[in-house]
Symmetry: C2
Subunit: 212 residues, 2 copies
DNA sequence: TGTACATCAGTGAACGCGCGTTCACTGATGTAC
DNA sequence: TGTACATCAGTGAACGCGCGTTCACTGATGTAC
């Protein structure tokens, strides 16, 4: 039987490593994440961290999986209705842009986007979106087939009309949120919130919305 | 009077440096851009490059300005109508994702987003979008004021209805294109082109379109 | 046309930095009898 | 309760790497008279 105390101390250390790692991401992007620097901040030698993570990439992968899970939870906690869901998505991203970039920004050099853990984690976040959205109009046959297959693989078995609306919503939310995060609207002197509201409105009442 | 031959050789060298730099960006992202590595590829010592660019950051800034200009030109060459404009935007991004990321991806650590040269270059690309788009519905007062001020500063003096449609189009195009570039649709087994077509359709006929 | 000078491109050595990772090892903490 | 052993956390030295940038310098190319 493992020692409970030792396990708890260990879990605490893992938490602290991740916290420092996230702080580094926030400060300087993914390129700034450094095992050595984290160790220094924790007052420990560099190699010590290899007791907790087999490599820098493994640490990064853990952070990504955590972030997908966290976003999925945030979406799941949103009140019913598309506006609340959209607001939850935006809030999560604005509160921690460095983590949002980790999920949907540029892939890191040498990082394997096809890692099964990462694909599964990403799917989990999308599943919440699909589960909480109303169906839109019917897609054409080709697209419907692809959407059906995707929904099947993900285990949600959502109908194509719902899947399409989820993907469309995601695309638009990502467009608005990522431009906001990088300061593009701010540098134009335009309030991102007003633009976001207009996009949510269009999603609710546009040709891809649920209502007629 | 300067030597024409020398100037031509120099311009050629600048071109080659930029070409190698772009190849590095394509291969490993902005973090992989290295003065030393470029020099090595060109068969020249590292410090030699400082005859052409005062620093790594200056080289990067030049690449960014070039990319904005190139995108602006590509948009300007598009046939009339929103579908062609949207297709031009997407084509440019797909053909050179590394340059697209340079423009609208995460800012680089230590890089100054408020550099006047960069802001001006970015504005130029947006101006083309504004100039080539039909007006949409009228925005509400607050948004209209901000859009008017922005258009005024940019020298286009577009009306708010046109500016809003341009910004909305940009946001949606960016959402679709950036998710496509990072392989998000591919990993879902969905053809990005079909989704893009649906978005262009919505932009053309949705509540933010020019028509009634 | 020839000569003196200025400009420019490029070199090699050096500075100081930080990185991920491996290795042999010490010491503390837990487990089994 | 005490003792032998196993597990685990952490250390310090080392390896090999690449980076941006500065500096004093050489040699070639251009310019002015």
């Amino acid at each position: 039987m493992a020692s409970i105390v030792r396990d708890r101390v260990r879990a605490q250390m893992v938490r602290e490593i991740k916290d420092r790692a996230l702080a580094q991401l926030a400060a300087g992007g993914a390129a700034a994440l450094s095992i050595s620097a984290i160790a220094k901040e924790l007052g420990v030698s560099g190699p010590a961290l290899y007791r907790y993570f087999p490599s820098r990439d493994a640490l990064l992968a853990d952070l990504i999986v955590d972030a997908y899970g966290d976003l999925a939870e945030a979406l799941d906690r949103a009140a019913p209705g598309l506006p609340a869901l959209a607001a939850a998505y935006r809030s999560w991203a604005l509160a921690q842009p460095h983590r949002y970039r980790l999920l949907y920004g540029a892939p890191l050099p040498g990082y394997d986007a096809h890692d099964q853990r990462l694909v599964t984690a990403a799917q989990r976040a999308m599943n919440v979106l699909v589960a909480r959205i109303e169906p839109g109009p019917e897609p054409d046959d080709r697209l419907a087939g692809q959407l059906r297959a995707w929904a099947g693989r993900s285990g949600t078995d959502a109908d194509p009309a719902t899947a399409l609306r989820a993907v469309t919503a995601w695309s638009r939310l990502h467009g608005a949120v990522s431009l906001e995060i990088e300061g593009n609207y701010a540098s134009m002197g335009i309030d991102p919130e007003l633009l976001f509201a207009a996009e949510v409105e269009a999603l609710s009442n546009g040709p891809l919305s649920s209502g007629p």
